[in-house]
Structure formats: structure tokens, C-alpha cells
């Protein structure tokens, strides 16, 4: 038994998984404490709703998971190369704008219109990933700084362009107009939910990134650069090209996320998702950072962490039925997500803990059981 645990403790996947689980658990405990402080009487029911409520809105969980899955991929993929793509928000906003533009301004056959909008959104994100990538690769400007700047540039630019466009913007409502039905993504037909085929596209995108990272020479170079940029330079890898390419791909992911969010079908016939230009950086971009961290930057992990974060958010919305203010619920969700950032730290801790627990018996029990391991 101990041999099995010891071996499991050695495997990377196991300790990463337990670490993420432990981080989430700790976050939940603290979240519960906060809810108890805010309103002791309802804390149990409220917390139960926070945890379980998502299951009542399974369609919405998937719908809201889609954009953060994409921004999570945008952050996680770049992180594999050692780049901190904090600009997912800007790329997301640009993607959304490009998708909106294609949706309003281009008249295309119904069957391809939404697809073109999605691709337009992707190229918007790519553009906003490309620029910080070029700055990083050619001028060695820190990508964190440029991409933060580009979050603001993107947000203000989009707000300005939308407000200046009479077709897209209805100034009396201070919102964008309703998108034509042809530009909206095909719904999955779940009642009262906007869930649509984009969740499948998102999962496919994650699987493609997984293949790229693990099976291709580009992924090999990318991870090598992320692990050790000196060694990758020594091996003659095209560092500059790879930085730009990685940022473009990351931007494409976030851009798709923006497109998916805005092109989702509305549950009310004749309407659509709308965008309100109020000079706020898209929160989905930053949620992507938490999603990527919780998913350990692995595309597969990110699928699950996006679903988890979305699930908690849906449950949180429902928990307000027990008298919790939305702000408190946001704090609880933030705490849970915040703790997820400790997953990395816990990863090391779990590994050490397992080592410590079993190191005393190890020399006696492990070695005879598996003598070849040392050889």
C-alpha cells in the first residue's frame, strides 16, 4: 500500500491533482467562514446552494464556462512558454468587437454568417496578441506591461468605435443593438439557457492545443523555451518566431472567447447578447488567469477548471436567494478562486508531505520491494 502511495506521490499528475483539490477545498472552507460571518442563519443553506446550485442550471454552467475556458487557454498556453499573457482581456474585447462588426456590417448567407463572425473574432484576438508578441520578441519589452496597456487601449478603442457606429450602437439604450439571428451561434436547445455549440468548439480548441503542446515540434520548442529559455537558445530554436506565434495563438483563443460570448443566442426570441461600452476591462480575461492557474496551464486541466469556476459562479448567483448580497457572493467566489492560485504552492507541499510521511519506512520497505528502481 505504502509503495503505491509513494509511487503515486512521485508522479507529477497525482500531486498536481491533489494540490488543486486541496486548494479548492481550502477555498471552500474560507468561503464558508465568510458566508457565516455575513449571515450566520442562512450560511448552511446558502453555501449548499453555492456548491450545488450549478447543477440546477447545467446549461448556463456550460454557457458561462465557454468564454473563461477560452481566456484560460489564452493564459495557460502562453504560460507554457513562460509568457504571462495578462492581456487576455484586451484580446477578448477585440475578439468581441470584430465579431460584432462582422455580425452587423456584413451581409452573408445565414449558414456561414456566424462562422465568419467567429473567425473575425479570432483574428481580432490574434491582432491583439501579435502586437505584444512583436514587442517582446524584437524589442524585449516585458509582455506583462504591453499587454496590460493593450487591455486599456483595446477597451477604449472598442468603446469608441462602437459608440461612433450608428448601426451597432443604440445611444438611447447605451448598448449595442440586437445582432441579426444569422450571426448568432446555433443553440443547443436547452430551455432558458443560452448554451450553444461554442462549448464544443472551445473543448475542441483545448484538445487541439493539447496535441500541439505534446505531439508537435512546435509544442516541443514552446515547452522547452518555457522550461529553460537558455537551453532552447542553445539548441538553436527560433525563440523570436515562437514568442510571436505563441502570443498570436493565445490571442486567437481569447478572441474566440470574446466572439463566443457575444454571439451566443438569446433565450428571448428576436433579441441577442449586447455589449455596453462603459469603460470596464472585461472580467472574463482576468478570470482566465485563475482558470489557467487552477488548471495548471494544461489544456485538459483548463477545461475542468473553467467548468468548476463557472459552476461556482452559477451557484453563487442562486445563493442570493438566501438573502446574500451579490457582493458577498463575489467575495466568496473570489476567495475560492484566489485559493486556487495556491495550487502551485500546495503542489510542492503535497509532494513533501507524502515524502515525509513515508520516508521513515522507505529504506526498509521500498527498496526490497522494488530493487530495480534504483539501478
Amino acid at each position: 500500500m505504502q509503495v503505491i502511495i509513494k509511487k503515486a506521490g512521485k508522479s507529477k499528475g497525482f500531486s498536481a491533482f491533489t494540490a488543486a483539490l486541496l486548494a479548492v477545498l481550502l477555498g471552500l472552507v474560507f468561503g464558508y467562514i465568510i458566508m457565516t460571518i455575513a449571515s450566520p442563519a442562512n450560511s448552511f443553506l446558502g453555501f449548499q446552494m453555492l456548491l450545488m446550485g450549478g447543477f440546477k442550471r447545467i446549461g448556463d454552467v456550460f454557457y458561462y464556462a465557454t468564454p473563461i475556458l477560452m481566456t484560460g487557454l489564452a493564459v495557460g498556453f502562453a504560460f507554457k512558454m513562460g509568457l504571462f499573457n495578462i492581456g487576455a482581456s484586451g484580446q477578448y474585447t477585440m475578439g468581441m468587437f470584430f465579431a460584432l462588426y462582422a455580425g452587423f456590417m456584413w451581409k452573408l448567407p445565414d449558414s456561414v454568417h456566424w462562422l465568419v463572425c467567429v473567425l473575425a473574432g479570432m483574428s481580432g484576438g490574434m491582432l491583439w496578441g501579435l502586437i505584444p508578441g512583436i514587442f517582446k520578441a524584437l524589442l524585449n519589452v516585458n509582455e506583462v506591461i504591453t499587454s496590460i496597456m493593450f487591455n486599456y487601449i483595446g477597451m477604449y478603442l472598442v468603446d469608441m468605435l462602437i459608440q461612433g457606429n450608428a448601426t451597432m450602437y443604440i445611444s438611447s439604450k447605451t448598448r449595442t443593438s440586437y445582432l441579426p439571428a444569422s450571426a448568432q451561434m446555433p443553440s443547443l436547445g436547452i430551455t432558458n439557457s443560452s448554451v450553444n455549440i461554442s462549448i464544443f468548439i472551445a473543448i475542441i480548441a483545448a484538445l487541439i492545443l493539447f496535441v500541439v503542446l505534446n505531439k508537435t515540434t512546435f509544442g516541443y520548442e514552446l515547452k522547452a523555451t518555457g522550461f529553460n529559455k537558455y537551453a532552447s537558445a542553445y539548441a538553436g530554436m527560433h525563440g523570436k518566431r515562437n514568442i510571436i506565434l505563441t502570443m498570436v495563438i493565445a490571442g486567437a483563443m481569447a478572441g474566440l472567447g470574446g466572439a463566443f460570448a457575444i454571439l451566443a443566442p438569446s433565450t428571448i426570441a428576436g433579441s441577442s447578447m449586447t455589449y455596453e461600452p462603459v469603460s470596464v476591462i472585461a472580467a472574463n480575461g482576468f478570470n482566465g488567469i485563475a482558470v489557467a492557474l487552477l488548471g495548471n496551464s494544461s489544456p485538459i486541466g483548463i477545461i475542468f477548471s473553467a467548468l468548476f469556476v463557472s459552476h461556482i459562479q452559477r451557484g453563487g448567483t442562486l445563493a442570493s436567494l438566501y438573502g446574500y448580497k451579490q457582493e458577498i457572493i463575489d467575495v466568496v467566489i473570489a476567495v475560492i478562486i484566489y485559493f486556487s492560485a495556491f495550487a502551485m504552492l500546495m503542489n510542492a507541499m503535497v509532494g513533501n508531505l507524502i515524502k515525509k510521511l513515508f520516508s521513515k519506512n522507505q529504506s526498509k520497505e521500498i527498496l526490497p520491494a522494488d530493487p530495480k528502481e534504483e539501478a
Binding site: 508537435t216 515540434t217 516541443y220 522547452a224 537551453a231 539548441a235 538553436g236 520516508s359 529504506s363
Partner: protein, 523 residues
């Protein structure tokens, strides 16, 4: 009963999966120089870390003057008069000598620093031992040898009388080593006790009174130096007879493979050039060694040669092709193999597996990829072939995480990768740094085999023994210039040392007389 100042009795220190010290007893007499000998990984540093309070032993006890003491941290050790010069100096570059010496024991009045007294004390100590250390010089501006003296002064300032020297000679020139030995003898005469960690037998024979030998965490023996020989010590250390001499056949020189002309490389640290106007040729079938003390421009030169950094001026020609501005990949494809100085920083991706590291230079070739998809079967079988051929030992074969492998086997993996790739020139930078004698022997043999196979080998080394044993021809680099060219067959370690320390320079004329090609350096 004998009078020991320090007794370490039956020390056992375990790390997960390994017993670094297994029931080791070491007794230090007052006023003696006691050598601690062993290969890398034998447990020398662990044992000294236990004594210095960096680790706590699971079993065993430490006594000072017969009383059991508990050393929980380096401050406890300091209170007991135990001081240590670490292999890698613990100095702050941008502080002055004085500031470094008083660091941690700063004399103060109400929190205000009182440097005056400290300064007088440092000057007095420095004069007493003839250290010639300027207390106001910045650490980054003084030589490595001087820095070591600052470390020694740190111990003296704290009035330590048990001094631990961890591989103190690794960074010194032969002349500096002689001076250090003299200082150590002086300390011993004054009644200070010295523990001297090393794996260099000559130094032990020269200076030590007694020697404790460790091997693989176990105590092998304790001998008086006057009753033993170098051969016997080496046998104790390695567990078998060791061949110190590398056997080389005479080899006809072939064509010029690498030609370097007037290479100048600017420094990243200071405004001067790190490499100044260096020119030489390397021919097929010879091992040319670039010797010199660490930090005299070798690193910068190799970076420029291999394409990691840019040259300011000059021309590099490899197999008749100008590669001065070529990319690293082009250089590699033109026949350059490179065993880098820092295998963890440059040579390996430690988070990758062994097989992934073995294809680091060739994953992009058609045999390993198909439309950008890596052929994992081809990688696996190639890795298995190299592992077998070059005796790379690893826990789980090709999928072993690189990080978990021993230094020797990591280096073997790099060697296998670089040698198996088609090449005309092999650049090996400190290829045996930090390796045990077995691995060193193996790597030396492989380098000579490259030479015998008609390849050109450029060896950059700080180890004099390695330089003398392997090279056919030696160039000495000092402050970024080539100051001498020597024939390995006729030169001596002493002569080499004079060049390395900058005390001697050969003129172009001398070289001409000696029958070598004219170097372009004109002075």
C-alpha cells in the same frame, strides 16, 4: 585518551532515498590540517554542513573539547568558533570588503554602524597574514583569490579557531594555491585547526597532516599523510586503481577546421571588451585547450563562437564557411557540436525527459518529425540506442526525468547527443566540472576518441590536470587576450600558472621560433 578539539561521532544523515552520511566519525586535533577526501557525492559537504549547523544529523553526536554540543544553525557554529569558507563565496558584490567582513556581526551603537574599530581590526589581521586586502575595495572589483582572502578574514574577524575550507583551490592559480597552502600552515602553527575538503590528491599530500576518506556516504578510513601515498589515497577514494594519465596516440594533423580571426567581444558587466582580438586555428585531429582562470573571457568567447552572443568584430570560419553571423542552428548544421559550460542552464531542459533531451539538437530533422508532428517511436528508439552506446544510467530509461539523474549521467547524455550528431568540431567547455573520477575518466576517453577519429576538439578548462593530460596544444587566456601558446608535451604546470596569472606573456616572435603559426596579436 587523545585530545580532540572536535569530534563528530557516528554521524548519520539521511535524505529521502539516500543516506548521505552513514555512521561517520571524524576527529580533529588541535593545530592540525585535516583533509576530508572523497568524490562528488561521497558526503563531504553534507558532513561539513552538519558540523556548520546547516543540517541536523539523525544519529550521532558532535563534541567540542570532549563536551557534547548541539549545533542548530551557523550562528551556533560561529559561537563555538567554527568558521567556513564555502566553495561558492558568500559575498555581496556591491559591498566593500569591510562591509562584507562585518556582515552579520556589525558593530553598532544604538543601531548606528561603527565601522572604525572593525576597520582597524581588519587591517591588523590583513597585515598579520600578509593578505594585502584593501578594506574599501568593492568585492566585484577584486580578484577571486582576493575574495577568498576576504572569506578567510571573515572567519578570523569572528575569532574562529576551527576553520573549514570547502574546495578552496578550485578557483585559484597554481601560485595562489601555494600561497593559500602557506596561509593554512601558518594557521595550524598558531594552533588553529583546519578541515580541508578537496578531491585533489596533490594538495593533500602537500599540506595535510591526516586525511579522512569518504566514499558513497561511508567512512573508508583515516590515515596519516606521512604513512600513505597518492596512489593509496586515490584507491581509497574511488575503490579501485585509477589511471591518471590519458593515453594518446600520436596523430597526424589534418586541415584547419575552425579558424578564428581577431575576435572581439564586448562585456556585459563592464565597459571594456571581455575578449580582445583573439585569433587561432584548430585543426582536425588535435585537442586545442583554451586554459585560463575563471572569468578571463573564456565564457564570453565561447558564447560568441557558438552564436549565443554577438561578436563586435572578427571572423569565424568553420570548415571553410564564414559563420560569424550565422544562427546557432546553422552553426550546428555546419558541423559544430557544443558541450556547454553550465549543463543545467544551457545544456539540458531539466523538466524534460532523457529522450526529449537527447533529441534537443535534432528533433526537427525528417527522421524525427513528419509535418511538424514528432515521431515518438523514432525518438524512443534513438534514445535507447544512445543510452546503450554511451552507458547513460537512469532510473526509468528514456522517460527518466532529466532532473532526477546524477550529474555524471546528465553530462554523459549531453556528450552522447553532441558526439552522435554529425560534427567536425567539438567545443567542450569544462566538460568534467563537478563530476566524479569515474565519469571524468569516461569523458576524457571520449574526447580523445573524437580527436583520434579526426575531429577537431576545442577544450576550455580551468582544471590544470585536465589541461595537461588532454591537450595537444595549449592557449592561455588572460584578461580576454591570448597571452601564450604552449606545447602540452614540453610545458609544466608552473609555466602554465605563470601565464594564467598574467605574470608572463609570450611574444609573437617566441611563438614563431617555437615553430607555431604566427598569431595576429601584435604587441
Amino acid at each position: 585518551m587523545e585530545n580532540y578539539i572536535i569530534e563528530m561521532l557516528n554521524i548519520t544523515k539521511e535524505f529521502p532515498g539516500i543516506t548521505a552520511n552513514d555512521d561517520i566519525t571524524l576527529c580533529l586535533r588541535k593545530g592540525e590540517i585535516h583533509a576530508l577526501l572523497g568524490e562528488n557525492g561521497a558526503g563531504k559537504s553534507t558532513l561539513m554542513s552538519v558540523l556548520f549547523g546547516l543540517y541536523q544529523a539523525e544519529k550521532g553526536e558532535i563534541r567540542k573539547n570532549g563536551t557534547v554540543v548541539k549545533i542548530n544553525n551557523p550562528n551556533d557554529a560561529n559561537d563555538l568558533g567554527i568558521g567556513m569558507v564555502h566553495q561558492h563565496f558568500k559575498l555581496i558584490d556591491i559591498f566593500t570588503v569591510l562591509e562584507n567582513i562585518i556582515l552579520g556581526v556589525e558593530p553598532n551603537k544604538m543601531g548606528l554602524l561603527q565601522k572604525k574599530e572593525a576597520r582597524e581590526k581588519v587591517i591588523k589581521l590583513s597585515e598579520q597574514y600578509g593578505f594585502e586586502v584593501n578594506p574599501d575595495a568593492l568585492i566585484e572589483q577584486i580578484s577571486v583569490g582576493m575574495q577568498q582572502r576576504v572569506e578567510i578574514l571573515k572567519m578570523l574577524y569572528r575569532e574562529n579557531d576551527i576553520l573549514i575550507f570547502d574546495e578552496p583551490t578550485a578557483v585559484l592559480t597554481p601560485q595562489e594555491i601555494d600561497e593559500l597552502m602557506e596561509i593554512m600552515r601558518e594557521f595550524a602553527r598558531e594552533g588553529k585547526s583546519i578541515l580541508f575538503i578537496t578531491h585533489k590528491l596533490n594538495e593533500i599530500m602537500a599540506v595535510a597532516d591526516r586525511c579522512t576518506v569518504l566514499r558513497k556516504g561511508k567512512l573508508i578510513g583515516n590515515v596519516a599523510i606521512k604513512d600513505t601515498t597518492k596512489e593509496e589515497l586515490s584507491k581509497m577514494m574511488v575503490g579501485r586503481n585509477v589511471n591518471f594519465k590519458v593515453h594518446k596516440k600520436t596523430k597526424e594533423l589534418g586541415d584547419v577546421v575552425l579558424s578564428v580571426k581577431n575576435i572581439t567581444v564586448s562585456s556585459k558587466i563592464h565597459s571594456n571588451n571581455a575578449v580582445k582580438n583573439v585569433s587561432f586555428d584548430v585543426r582536425a585531429g588535435e585537442i586545442l585547450c583554451l586554459a585560463g582562470i575563471d572569468g578571463n573571457g573564456q565564457t564570453e568567447f565561447v558564447s560568441a563562437l557558438t552564436g549565443l552572443e554577438k561578436t563586435s568584430s572578427g571572423i569565424i570560419t568553420l570548415c571553410g564557411r564564414d559563420i560569424t553571423k550565422a544562427t546557432i542552428r546553422t552553426r550546428s548544421m555546419s558541423g559544430m557540436s557544443h558541450i556547454p559550460e553550465d549543463r543545467h542552464k544551457y545544456g539540458l531542459v531539466l523538466d524534460y525527459s532523457l529522450e526529449e533531451n537527447l533529441v534537443l539538437q535534432r528533433y526537427w530533422r525528417p527522421e524525427f518529425q513528419h509535418f511538424g508532428f514528432i515521431k515518438s517511436n523514432a525518438v524512443r528508439s534513438y534514445a535507447e540506442k544512445l543510452i546503450k552506446q554511451y552507458e547513460v544510467r537512469s532510473g526509468q530509461g528514456p522517460i527518466t526525468p532529466m532532473r532526477s539523474m546524477s550529474g555524471g549521467n546528465q553530462q554523459k547524455a549531453i556528450l552522447a547527443r553532441e558526439i552522435d550528431k554529425e560534427h567536425e568540431l567539438l567545443i567542450a567547455v569544462q566538460p568534467t566540472r563537478g563530476l566524479d573520477i569515474g565519469a571524468i575518466e569516461y569523458i576524457h576517453k571520449q574526447l580523445v576518441a573524437r580527436r583520434d577519429a579526426g575531429k577537431a576538439v576545442l577544450l576550455i578548462s580551468l582544471e590544470l590536470e585536465e589541461v595537461m593530460n588532454l591537450s595537444d596544444r595549449i592557449l592561455v587566456m588572460y584578461e580576454g587576450e591570448i597571452v601564450g601558446e604552449l606545447d602540452a608535451k614540453t610545458t609544466t604546470v608552473q609555466e602554465l600558472g605563470l601565464y594564467m596569472s598574467g605574470a608572463k606573456r609570450s611574444t609573437a616572435k617566441e611563438n614563431e621560433n617555437a615553430g607555431y603559426y604566427q598569431k595576429s596579436r601584435k604587441k
